[in-house]
Amino acid sequence: MVSGAGKRFGGLEVFREISLEVGEREVLAIIGPSGCGKTTLLRCIDGLIPLTEGEIKVEGAPVVTPREGVAMVFQHFGLFPWKTVFQNVAYGLKLAGCSGAEIAEKIPNYINLVGLSGFEDYYPYQVSGGMQQRCGLARALSVEPRVLLMDEPFGAVDAQTREILQFELLRIWDMRPTTMVFVTHAIDEAVLMGDRVMVLKGRPSTVHELIEVDLPRPRDRATLSMPRFAELRERVWGTLMDDARRAEFEVKR
């Protein structure tokens, strides 16, 4: 899917030599310290920005601009404040050229799926952050993507809402499994969501480790208390924090 990917902004090389492949209906979690370029990589996969080196292919075709069948959920939600919840969710289908009748038939299902029934006519500013991201998720799901790109989707909501949304997402994924690339900076989240966890590290960052997550699906709250979950969590933690600790205690002379 991604081979030998590199990206630089002017003189700043963000990442280099990243190669990864995500199988059908597989969930790949990408984790790394802030500024490691995980969001940039995801934007490249979506075709929002071009790579400097290497190539990205989705379903065999090289990505140059955003493709049909790929949808993204943004950390900043990206809801349009002048559209209601319904209109925001319908945005993708409207652009895909669906008729009004089709939209009226399909959208309530997605609104229902993310648990926003009854809030169709509210504006984003009237609902909580968690509900806003549910709306963002419904908008991405509504175009029936085969690849779902999640850019720290729960990074901007509070800790409790975040947990609720994680299990909501797992529930939705179990109902309609799609290929998913899930970028996060939370270790628990990466292990909980991913079939594999990719750890990005270094400057420029590279793939430091690829950890297989052999936790059974469907996953739910009980998964968190499995001994295996704690083991994997520790493993990711160890890889990730090595440098962080070293950097923290580094004395500049």
């Binding site: 979506d46 929002l48 601009t65 955003p66 493709r67 049909e68 949808a71 993204m72 943004f74 900043h76 990206g78 349009f80 404040p81 002048w82 945005y91 993708g92 652009l95 895909a96 504006y123 984003p124 500013y125 175009v143």
Partner: protein
């Protein structure tokens, strides 16, 4: 806390209580201030000025005769019609040019200095030139109104279109929106608060332009009505036309506020 409350609850002497009530009620305060101002105007005019100078009682006496007067109504209709027509033209052109300037770098680079300079140009200064091009007629008035209103709308819309959050554009691109759809569905609504600010500014300028054009060109309208009546010592009648102009300005403002509240509830939040 308890000390403060006891002070508040202590019954005050009659006069202080009355004054305090007055200060506490904005409506009563406004009304009182209005009566004092009108009283001062009436008093000073009666004491110092000739009989034909406008004063509140004089204006009140002629008010209903004037607003029922055919000539006055025709004048008000002409001015209002020209202002509305001019604003509609200015809004359509200004929005189109403003959006183009805000989103297309070439257009912005090419036009920015000219639009900003013309925005700063007092439209009264071009009035004599406009009359040369259009003649001493209603077209010249319309042209001056459009000239006065257009640039504030274009400049504001341009600012609005430039300040569309990048996140919105990113989402539009991610969902594979075509450029025209992004312009109409994302950039335009996102710029609407700026556009409305521009319209507010434009409405005031358009009204000034209409009145000044009528002064200068002498065509029927409220401006000319004021000029004519002032010159024939009917100051009270002239002042009714001034009140009409104020009413037009205030109602336009009220209308914009209503539209914002009703259709752009999201824009009122910071």
């Amino acid at each position: 806390m308890s000390g403060g409350q006891s002070i508040l609850e202590r019954p005050a002497a009659g006069f202080t209580l009355g004054a305090r009530r007055l200060l506490a009620s904005p409506l009563a305060l406004k009304a009182t201030a209005g009566i004092v101002l009108l009283g001062a105007w009436e008093g000073i005019v009666r004491a110092l000025a000739p009989a034909y100078v406008a004063k509140p009682t004089g204006i009140a006496r002629v008010f209903f005769t004037v607003i029922a007067n055919e000539q006055f109504l025709a004048a008000a209709g002409a001015t209002l019609g020209a202002v509305v027509k001019g604003l509609v033209i200015a809004i359509m052109l200004g929005t189109a040019i403003g959006l183009a300037m805000g989103r297309i770098t070439v257009v912005e680079r090419g036009l920015r200095y000219y639009v900003n300079s013309l925005f700063a140009t007092p439209m009264i200064a071009v009035l004599p030139l406009v009359t040369l091009w259009f003649g001493y007629n209603a077209d010249a008035r319309l042209a001056v109104i459009v000239f006065a209103a257009f640039f504030s709308i274009a400049v504001n819309t341009c600012d609005g279109a430039r300040s569309v959050p990048l996140e919105f554009l990113e989402v539009a691109r991610s969902f594979r929106a075509r450029p025209l759809s992004t312009l109409l569905d994302i950039v335009l609504p996102s710029s609407l608060p700026y556009l409305i600010a521009g319209m507010r500014l434009a409405a005031g300028r358009a009204l000034v332009a209409a009145v000044v054009a009528e002064f200068f060109i002498s065509i029927p309208g409220l401006g000319y009505y004021i000029l004519f009546n002032s010159r024939t010592f009917k100051h009270n009648e002239a002042f009714v036309a001034v009140i009409a102009l104020v009413a037009v300005g205030v109602s336009f403002e009220a209308m914009l506020n209503w539209v914002t509240r009703r259709y752009l509830p999201w824009a009122r939040r910071d």
